[in-house]
Symmetry: C3
Subunit: 422 residues, 3 copies
């Protein structure tokens, strides 16, 4: 994951353009990606897919001919979607177009102006402070092409049944590591891992990599007739910093993915936090808008907006560790395993406890104590009334989902549960 | 409020009589009051409106001709509804009719005997202890007039719709400040404030000032066919002491007023406490009796029965402060504002987030953080599915009701919410 | 209870046989017991009633003719249901059939092998360690009689109505005091106490004394058509140690017995603990299997499996005190009193508070405070809408069930509640 992040960190991603295309191409070297180009001007909910933005050059030359800022050094230096401009400005006139952070003078802020036509540069505050009086030559050589398109990618692992699990992350942030190239890297690797499994999953797993806000909205609008297939999902962001793993519930709050996440994280080694839904954050804002209300939660380490480096050039690769990325990936896999493995078991012998010893399911003598596996057998048998799920068994027993699922498999093998039903 | 309290503190209030009439007349100088005379003998639930009680004189003269107690000094000295008596008693015979507080020897207790015919005097215990042996001349010159009536008052602020909000407080306690002249003063001032607002409320606000127990019961019996109009209400008592504001839930426990009170008090500056319903206290006992079960809670500072001065002459104006009364009034107004302003918003753009910037609802650039107002916009939009209320938005967001309501107003102004519906 | 325990402690109880018969006979000297013999081979759910096991002799003679272990010394020495064997073994061969506790070297473990045919001895680990090399003469003279039977007992106190309350405890453990002769003694004494009451209960109280696991399963199978009569019940075990009284909820978790137990124990003097259901423990495992799902909880002091002496010879009469047994019996009686006395009161005067003073239900003068009984009157009246029970009244008021029930009786006596309905 870190390798992919290093390769793609400085690609000039935005809502549209070659930065996103090149990022998806880098992922496609690991796992197949279905790329869709959505034409500029396509309606998407309350929004419209914007013109494709291209940056040929953007820089400012100060008194004495010194190049004081240049997008060639970092995509962060130019406000996203800046309109074209060319002219000579005084210091004061220039500063009306310059964004910097007085509280964080060594960092370049990340700013965009996707929907309001304007141009601007983002600079370190200490560099802004050092600008002398005088004349500044500004070049913003950009293009907003109404005949362009917005690029989105999907990694799809086909399942055996009609339901789907959706994973999503924004792919539009340039030059920032944790928010959100870490999420892109995690889902690319997740796709690779799922695609390599020998057996297909029950449910199709669809990983959506799209520009923030308008990307998911356009995808939802285009797929509106099939959304009832979505059994659950996760929006992923900020997956690589050392903070606790944080799961934010879906708008519903009690969707299967919400219970799966709480259960899986409780049995993970890392610290974790569970939060209620709020209508702010990442792609889940769109999946959980009231017209869709999909069972999609959000997973991150430190949530976006809550660490001081967020949306600045200090959100770089020093913030992201391989261990954090691996832990986040493990957490996502554990949650997906619960979603995928859950079922409603039905006992074939519900009247009193069945005899486990006769079937080789326990080797205990009367008077000895059993362990977790035996407790799991008893829990699954006790709740196997067709109304309870394996997640219920795990929640009520305090045992992990794998221990419960293995017990269910053993009981099914011994003929004590009917064939799987969901 | 304090001025009204000073004017009316020593009026000889009781279940009936001129003390109540004069109190209502004092209020009517501030805001119109509809006065109703309910004839003695009128059935009221399990009760009957009592004969009107009049006190011409009541005093005891001790050995040596000393006047040891006289109702002319304080209405507390005579047990409420004392029957007429005239006679000469020994000290021991007299003491069988004297109530005092050994634990609070400097205070006169407040006692009534509305339903059992008897007479009695209430005295400071230290005065009782000092009574010499000898003969005592007792005069209790009272009348119980079966042709009299019970007086109740209503302050009514008409609303534009059919629903009502009910406020109620007992008006029968004589000579006691916090319990409950403070409640009377608060509701009189509330009526004045509501009546002066330029726009009429959605719901008629009805303020009932009536003698305890039998007053609300008689009002309920007389209005039994219209009680389903009552959307919510508050019984007010003990509103002027410095204790925390205490809201006691309605019998239902989850009525709109219960949630409105919890929400409003959470955002008030004063300390506050929330309590479950108990069938003891003030007028809410009648509104929340099982046959009516109205959505009426109770608000006070220190609840009746929980402060040591309660039901004694020490419950005087030194216990009541203008700041406490103002805070209580503010709390009641805030609760009523939630009840009045709540609605179920419906988004006109529920499929993904609508574009706030285009409508001038946010001035943020991408990458900057929003404040409470912007979070409120997102919460209202997210929950505007016709199933959630603005109170739901406030509860889930942690934001105050005014912040949420202002956001709903802004969204409605921008065409993002349909017209108000409730 | 201790006397009965002393009398019966060393009877050779097992799933079948004269040990159980003699234990039931000892109980029958205190209270009538209906004894049922279930023939070996009878199907019982997933199980079959086993052959009757008889032990004529079982001992091992070591080098030098020393008798190293003999079932005549304690029934614990022979693994329950040991098959017959006679032979000369080396020390190593013998040890493959010997069970001991390295962590508790002075105690004999309790082991059974009801369903796997094998033989074995249970010894103190320190005695095992001291065994010399040499030849050992083993005699296990046992019989498994397919023409025998399993013995169960029922103590039945007939009720006036069709519903039943079920109490159950296993009667198969030999030579162990707390687990579970204490439960047997408690239920025998409970039966005696209930049988001596002057009035029959509303509900038949049925006390089942049967061998563990297969006993309740056989009883359930035989009574399958009548189980809907069971209003509630308790499985009793480990009732005599000094631990806190522990109530484990039924599988349903919110059955009347669950609320009754929580309420009754809250007002008992002993410390107590409430636990959720788990499918491990005593007879409740069968009553709460998914095919039956009966409203039966479990009560104990320290639950089985949680004290170090459990299932060893150290679980002897020094662990059991008369005070603990009396407290456990009191707790069971209190829970049964709640179940038996609960009802849904209906007020005859639901519109406002009825006048208590006129009916002699209160002697308070206005202004004085009431006590628990008066609060109970108000609570019952307030909740007497036919939807709430007396248990609801007790839970919401914080008052004990007897205080609430007495208030309901007083109100019914005064005509303020309709006749009892349930």
């Amino acid at each position: 994951m870190l390798t992919l992040m290093r390769e793609t960190l400085d690609l000039p991603r935005s809502l549209t353009g070659d930065g996103v295309r090149d990022t998806l191409a880098a992922i496609a070297r690991l796992v197949p990606v279905r790329v869709t180009e959505v034409p500029s001007g396509t309606p998407a909910g309350d929004w419209t897919v914007p013109p494709e933005w291209r940056v040929r050059a953007a820089h400012v030359t100060g008194p004495g001919g010194r190049r004081i800022v240049d997008v060639a050094d970092s995509p962060l230096h130019l406000v996203g979607y800046s309109t074209a401009f060319r002219g000579r400005l005084t210091r004061a006139e220039l500063l009306a177009h310059v964004h910097s952070l007085p509280d964080r003078p060594g960092a370049v802020p990340y700013r965009t102006s996707y929907w309001v036509p304007e141009w601007g540069f983002c600079m370190r505050h200490r560099d802004v402070e050092a600008l002398p009086e005088g004349d500044y030559e500004v070049v913003v050589d950009t293009e907003h092409d109404p005949a362009g398109s917005m690029t989105t990618g999907e990694i799809v692992i086909d399942g055996t049944g009609p339901e789907e699990v959706l994973l999503s992350t924004p792919v539009c942030h340039p030059g920032l590591a944790n928010d959100n190239l870490s999420g892109v890297a995690l889902l690319a690797e997740l796709g690779r891992v799922l695609a390599q499994r020998p057996e297909p999953p029950r449910r199709t797993h669809r990983i959506l990599l799209s520009p923030g806000t308008v990307g998911p909205i356009a995808w939802l609008a285009a797929n509106r007739d099939h959304l009832d297939r979505i059994r659950g999902g996760l929006a992923v962001m900020c997956a690589g910093d050392p903070g606790a793993i944080t799961y934010k519930a879906s708008r519903r709050g009690d969707a299967p993915v919400d219970r799966a996440a709480a259960l899986a994280l409780r049995h993970r080694p890392e610290p974790h936090a569970l939060r209620d839904f709020i209508p702010w954050g990442g792609d889940e804002r769109q999946f959980c808008s009231p017209g869709y209300d999909l069972p999609v939660g959000a997973i991150s380490r430190t949530p976006p907006g809550e660490y001081p480096e967020n949306h600045t050039s200090d959100d770089d690769l020093t913030l992201v560790t391989a261990a954090a990325l691996e832990g986040s990936l493990g957490a996502v896999l554990d949650i997906l395993d619960v979603l995928e493995g859950d079922e409603r078991p039905v006992s074939t012998s519900p009247f009193g406890e069945p005899q486990l010893g006769r079937r080789g399911l326990t080797r205990r003598r009367g008077g000895e104590k059993g362990g977790d596996h035996e407790m799991a057998l008893l829990w699954v048998l006790n709740l196997a009334d067709g109304r309870h799920t394996l997640v219920d068994c795990a929640e009520r027993s305090g045992l992990s989902f794998p221990v419960i699922r293995d017990a269910a498999d053993a009981l099914r093998g011994a003929g004590l549960l009917t064939a799987r039903r969901d």
